[in-house]
């Protein structure tokens, strides 16, 4: 036998040929090459045999009775489906048209008669290589599809968890929040959290993790936990930011971080406190004047800096009732048109300027984006919060069902917070938790917290730091007031705030007396209380609120000491 190229692996080959001698010759040649042979003498037999035995390669005579080679080839190709079953036409046809017809019918090659065994062997090997290539491609495609499905499943699970975490809180319940969040891919890593503080202020976080999908879910959960937990306890933005940053820094890999804007909106104080690390600038929109104040990113994103290096300084801006805060994710500015031009901040400003109805701002922006891009973009997050009157105080935390017999009913406690502590520690959450040990007070936790916060902040800011609240009469004064507050606090070396708590049972239930003293110079109580209640003034509201919320407010010691009472009835 002449030297033929080694066969890769023995195949099952179907030979369809109506001339008996040719069939015998060909079968022998092919068998001698190491393959298994199936034979048919017309097209119909060939198709049947193929359907039953599924050979890997077919040698097909072009002109046969019953069904010719072309039709048989077409049917066999159909039966083969995605797999490649090479068909080599056996032919003594000479005209190019006829040869082209072979290929059109699905033939992959042809072998002229008289048969040359060397050429036949070479062609069989070549066709077999193609056949294997196709088989590999299909196998890999199926493997990829399986992995893809698996990944999608994992992402779905992550999204379900993420949704529970990311969309609890008051984001859907609060009437003054409007938001638009996108359904892009499975989820996009944009985090939108909102919760009320015990005092009735609202904390809001708009965040954007690097990467989408699972990495975002991993970071979102601990972040949300900190946000909700600490907000409910009455912690301020500064402490929450520190904790969120430390947590992310600890658990996330070095190259992952979370850009975020964190807000505290206070109807009570008519102000918004802001921290922006890495997010596009938001805006405070003054409805009366149309002025927009940008809330610029001044910090590194969360999870990048160590605790020592972390900058927790916030900015405070005044807001009147009806004013709005507007936040957006980078999907808005990054929207590109066909020429890869970005929408950008200038175009956004144009939309703001052209907007006539504040309530339609979202629609205006969406329309502008769609017009710019040529189609709607679906990975954008926007958020608008309006400062509204009458945000009620909520009771946070579970109200226990027991009768309150196991709680402390007759005790007192005193604290003195000195300079080093005042600088870096907010005692209010701790004090609140302490007081909530008294079951009877839990229903009033909102009022309680608001009052404590107000009195403590007065003691610290007006008493110890010596700041004058009349400075907060306009926007500039506002900014200056908070700047001074930070400066003086950093430099503080002496002074104190004392907190005394006394709890006594009464005939009907109980009474908690809270007294706060500061080391400051005091103030003319009568004069301050006599100031007309001016609803649009940026300051002075606090004392009135305190009087509304508690029973019996009394100042003493030249204004350095204030005392309030809270009473409750025994739970049934």
């Amino acid at each position: 036998m002449s030297a033929l190229a080694p066969v890769l692996e023995p195949l099952t080959i179907l030979i369809a040929e109506d001339s008996a001698a040719d069939l015998l010759l060909l079968s022998t040649i092919v068998r001698r090459q190491g393959h298994q042979v199936l034979t048919a003498s017309n097209g119909a037999q060939a198709v049947d045999l193929f359907a039953r035995e599924r050979p890997q390669l077919v040698l097909m005579d072009a002109l046969m009775p019953v069904m010719d080679g072309f039709e048989a080839a077409r049917r066999i190709k159909q039966l083969a489906g995605e797999a490649l079953v090479p068909i080599i036409f056996l032919t003594s046809l000479r005209q190019s048209e006829a040869l082209a017809q072979c290929l059109d019918a699905g033939g992959d090659d042809f072998l002229p008669k008289p048969y040359n065994p060397l050429i036949l062997a070479a062609k069989i090997n070549a066709m077999d290589r193609l056949r294997r290539l196709q088989a590999t491609v299909l196998q890999q495609r199926d493997l990829i599809a399986k992995h893809h499905d698996y990944l999608l499943h994992e992402q779905r699970v992550a999204k379900a968890v993420f949704d529970k975490v990311a969309h609890s809180g008051c984001i859907n319940a609060a009437p003054n929040i409007r938001y638009l969040q996108s359904p892009y891919a499975l989820f996009n890593g944009d985090l939108l959290l909102a919760a009320y503080t015990p005092a009735g202020d609202m904390h809001v976080l708009l965040g954007d993790f690097t990467g989408h999908g699972l990495p975002a879910a991993v970071g979102a959960m601990p972040l949300a936990e900190v946000f909700y937990g600490m907000t409910a306890k009455g912690y301020g933005l500064t402490q929450i930011l520190r904790e969120m940053n430390a947590k992310l820094k600890r658990i996330l890999p070095v190259d992952m971080f979370c850009c975020a804007t964190l807000l505290c909106l206070s109807t009570q104080r008519r102000a918004v406190e802001v921290w922006n690390g890495g997010m596009p600038e938001g805006y405070v929109h003054e409805v009366a004047t149309g002025k927009r104040t940008p809330l610029i990113s001044r910090h590194l994103p969360l999870g990048v800096l160590s605790a020592q290096a972390f900058d927790d300084r916030t900015e405070v801006w005044p807001m009147a009732l009806g004013d709005r805060v507007f936040l957006l994710s980078d999907g808005v500015l990054d929207t590109a048109d066909a020429n890869e031009q970005l929408f950008g901040a200038e175009r956004l400003q144009q939309v703001f300027a052209a907007n006539r109805e504040p309530d339609r701002l979202f629609e205006d922006i969406e329309q502008a984006l769609a017009a710019f891009r040529g189609e709607a973009r679906d990975d954008v997050s926007m958020l608008e919060i309006t400062l509204q009157a009458g945000q009620s105080m909520r009771a946070t935390g579970p109200l226990y069902a027991d009768s309150g017999q196991s709680c402390p009913l007759d005790w007192s406690m005193s604290f003195e917070f000195r300079a080093e502590t005042l600088k870096r520690y907010n005692p209010l959450p701790y004090l609140l938790q302490l007081l909530l040990e008294i079951h009877g007070l839990r229903e009033q936790s909102g009022a309680l917290y608001s009052v404590m916060a107000e009195l403590y902040s007065n003691a610290l800011e007006h008493g110890v730091l010596g700041l004058d609240s009349r400075l907060k009469r306009d926007a500039e004064g506002f900014a200056q007031y908070y700047r001074l507050r930070n400066e003086r606090l950093v430099q503080l070396s002496s002074g104190y705030v004392r907190v005394h708590v006394q709890v006594e049972p009464t005939a009907t239930g109980g009474r908690m007396t809270l007294r706060i003293e500061d080391s400051g110079p005091g103030f003319d109580v009568e004069q301050v209380l006599a100031r007309p209640l001016d609803v649009d003034r940026l300051s002075g509201r606090g004392l009135d609120l305190v009087r509304q919320l508690s029973s019996d407010v009394r100042w003493s010691d030249g204004g350095r000491s204030v005392c309030v009472e809270f009473c409750w009835e025994a739970l049934a």
Binding site: S2, S19, A21, L24, S92
Partner: protein
Amino acid sequence: MVEVHLDPDVLSGLQEVMEGEYPKLLDTFLDDSQKRVEALRKARDDAKALARIAHSFKGSSGNLGAVRLAHLCQRLEVESVEAAADLGALVDQIDHEFALVKPLYESERQRFQL
């Protein structure tokens, strides 16, 4: 034109490939070809049938080294579409050529008679 009736190189090539099956191949060819010659006669003036049979006969005679026979069949196949062709004459020539090569194959076959 001098044409080869039976190419001995083809035969020896076939013998090499077929080995033990070589006699069977010769038998099959002779049997097959006999049937084809008869079919050609029967087809008479049916040009399409003549072309089909000639095509098939051309293939196997080519494979078995009957060069002139294969050429004649080729001519019949090609000329069967021409109206003025004398197909009957060609069929005669084919008949004649097969009668010539048949004993050559038979004697070749004899060499392996056990």
